[in-house]
């Protein structure tokens, strides 16, 4: 029924190859890889919530190398300054003029580790750059490289000394995926692979190898393939029926009595764009309701806020969203 065009068939293979390449290094995180690709194809940004040690950095590093993209990582701390991320103008003593020093934001894939540990002004500077895709240093406004994707992480349990991202800033992230611990069989596989890592000899000494040493520098496909995949994402057909589905779910979040804050129009747009990318990744020419339901949690959950009464009743945003989805099919 879902016959792909030849070009889209090639792109689906390309995207599958990327997933397989990442799967060789990172075990049991297929969904995260899929969400990262969705963010990349739609130029959205991704927020990952999960415990430390779930291979977030390794995952992003592997994807960036598989697609042949620049990768930077910034560990957010309380004393970080906006200039530490976006860069600054430095006085060159030899020439007597100011020289622009580009910050780590000038990259394709930026991993903002523990974004909620930085002060709000730093978060604001990053989120502004994410939105506008350009940075102003002194009198110069410089565009960020393309593609540009921010993958931010935050730890959901260790909240002391953190600055929680407000709803308006959370809304800038197209997807917020909650990482879970791997299944027992995946956990076993992780341990087995770790046992085989061995030792790397270098300069007369030796050091234990890590998973990062296994990441291949050979890219899958070419940058043109990625551009073609992004173009193909925009060509994925979205039916009127699918639009009605999106509007129906967004409307339900706004009218639900347990929700103080429902979805913004940006949430509907994100749902649409992400569904298109997922359709391409799954080898379809059109988005179907499965895409919608699969992505609803990652698109909607961080954009809704429970009412005081619902919180007092011990309800969670996830429960409310499941209730909304159940009601929509009953």
């Amino acid at each position: 029924m879902s016959q792909l065009s030849t070009s889209n068939n090639h792109l689906a293979s390309y995207l599958k190859e990327i997933r397989d390449r990442v799967g060789e290094i990172v075990v049991g995180q297929d969904v995260v890889v899929e969400r990262t690709l969705i963010s990349l194809l739609t130029s959205g940004h991704l927020l990952l919530e999960g415990m430390p040690g779930l291979a977030k950095t390794l995952l992003v590093n592997t994807i960036s190398k598989a697609i042949h993209l620049d990768f930077s990582r910034v560990q957010f701390t309380i004393d970080l300054l906006p200039s530490d991320i976006i860069g600054s103008e430095i006085l060159d003593e030899k020439s007597g003029s100011f020289r622009t020093h580009h910050g780590p934001i000038f990259t394709n894939l930026l991993l903002a580790d523990e974004i909620n540990r930085a002060a709000p002004k730093v978060q604001g500077a990053l989120l502004e750059a994410m939105q506008e895709r350009k940075v102003t240093l002194g009198n110069q406004t410089m565009p960020l490289p393309t593609p540009f994707l921010v993958i931010a992480t935050q730890n959901p349990i260790e909240q002391s000394g953190t600055f929680e991202l407000p709803e308006a800033q959370l809304d800038r992230f197209m997807l917020c995926h909650r990482l879970s611990y791997p299944e027992p069989q995946d956990e076993e596989e992780i341990l087995r692979r770790n046992l085989k890592l061995g030792v790397q000899k270098k300069d007369g000494g030796a050091v234990a190898r890590t998973e990062f040493d296994l990441v291949s520098d050979d890219a899958v496909g070419t940058p043109e393939d990625l551009v073609a995949a992004m173009e193909a994402t925009h060509d994925i057909h979205v039916s009127e029926v699918f639009l009605k589905h999106v509007v129906d779910i967004v409307e339900r979040t706004r009218k639900h009595p347990d929700l103080e804050l429902g979805c913004s129009p940006r949430a509907g747009i994100s749902l649409l764009k992400a569904s298109r990318a997922r359709a391409l990744i799954h080898g379809r020419d059109y988005a179907v309701s499965e895409d919608l339901f699969a992505l609803a949690e990652d698109v909607i959950l961080h954009r809704i806020r429970l009412s005081y009464e619902a919180l007092a009743d011990g309800k969670t945003p996830r429960q409310i969203l499941q209730q909304i989805l159940e009601e929509s099919i009953s």
Partner: protein, 272 residues
């Protein structure tokens, strides 16, 4: 004649001298006894004491029964006149001579005959009297437990009203107009689809209701979240062919499917 004149003159001088002396003696001896109540002041104006300047003997302990304050000292012939204010601290009769001395001397003045009598009674006129305490029972005392009980009952009634009134109202409305069931809604939409008059909203609802139908029908996915249930349905041997056709009809660009095929597709939902 001259002798008589001299006699009269001497006699008159003698009478004058005796008169003056008599007045002076009466001023020192025949002074009236003064009486006052305990703690209330006696004021003596122009009290004459002959001789050099006198002063009250300092009151150095609590044994002394009079407190004397000199208000003013005025010089007079062969002595001084004093304005005094005297307070009695113990009841009894006291000679003022025991409480005065000449300045620079420790001797008292025995020639002062003024008596001061301090009594415990006092004239009630002009002194504010304490109010008579009437034995009137206080008003509005008590009833606290009753008030507390009444407040508790009112609070309980309001609380129960808040809990149940709105729910009962909602329940009664629901009872009057029960919402259509999934299969009723699905049947209506399938019949409308057979006539080819489904709007986009209707087709959207039709798809969601069919998903809901399968979710209710298959026990293995009944309790799964909607997203996971859909993934299972797409690979389910019974549901999958139908759902994929439905997806193709509803979502594919320019689906090549005729009305008869749609009717056949939805036929199984006509009488659910």
């Amino acid at each position: 004649m001259i002798v008589v004149f001299q006699f009269v003159r001497r006699f008159s001088l003698l009478l004058c001298a005796m008169g003056i002396l008599g007045l002076q003696v009466s001023a020192e001896v025949d002074q009236p006894e003064l009486e006052s109540s305990l703690g209330l002041p006696i004021v003596l104006n122009d009290f004459y004491i002959a001789g050099s300047k006198a002063e009250p003997i300092p009151r150095i302990d609590s044994e002394s029964s009079l407190v004397i304050r000199v208000l003013e000292v005025k010089p007079a012939a062969d002595g001084f006149r004093y304005d005094l204010e005297i307070y009695g601290l113990d009841p009894g009769s006291y000679r003022l001579s025991d409480y005065f001395r000449y300045v620079g001397s420790n001797e008292s003045l025995p020639q002062l005959s003024q008596q001061i009598t301090i009594v415990t009674e006092h004239d009630l006129e002009g002194i504010p009297k304490p109010k008579e305490l009437a034995n009137v029972p206080p008003e509005n005392v008590g009833g606290y437990r009753v008030l507390l009980t009444v407040c508790l009952v009112i609070w309980g009634v309001v609380f129960l009203l808040i809990l149940f009134w709105r729910k009962k109202k909602v329940q009664s409305e629901e009872f009057l107009q029960p919402p259509p069931t999934l299969h009723e809604k699905l049947g209506n939409l399938v019949r409308a689809a057979a006539h080819g008059d489904l709007s986009d909203s209707d087709r959207s609802q039709l798809e969601r209701l069919i998903l809901g139908h399968w979710k209710q029908k298959l026990p293995e996915i009944e309790n799964l979240p909607a997203s996971e249930a859909l993934v299972t349905l797409r690979s389910h041997p019974e549901a999958s062919p139908l759902l994929l056709k439905l997806e193709y009809w509803l979502h594919a660009p320019n689906p090549s499917i005729d009305q008869q095929s749609i009717n056949n597709l939805l036929d199984s939902f006509r009488d659910v």
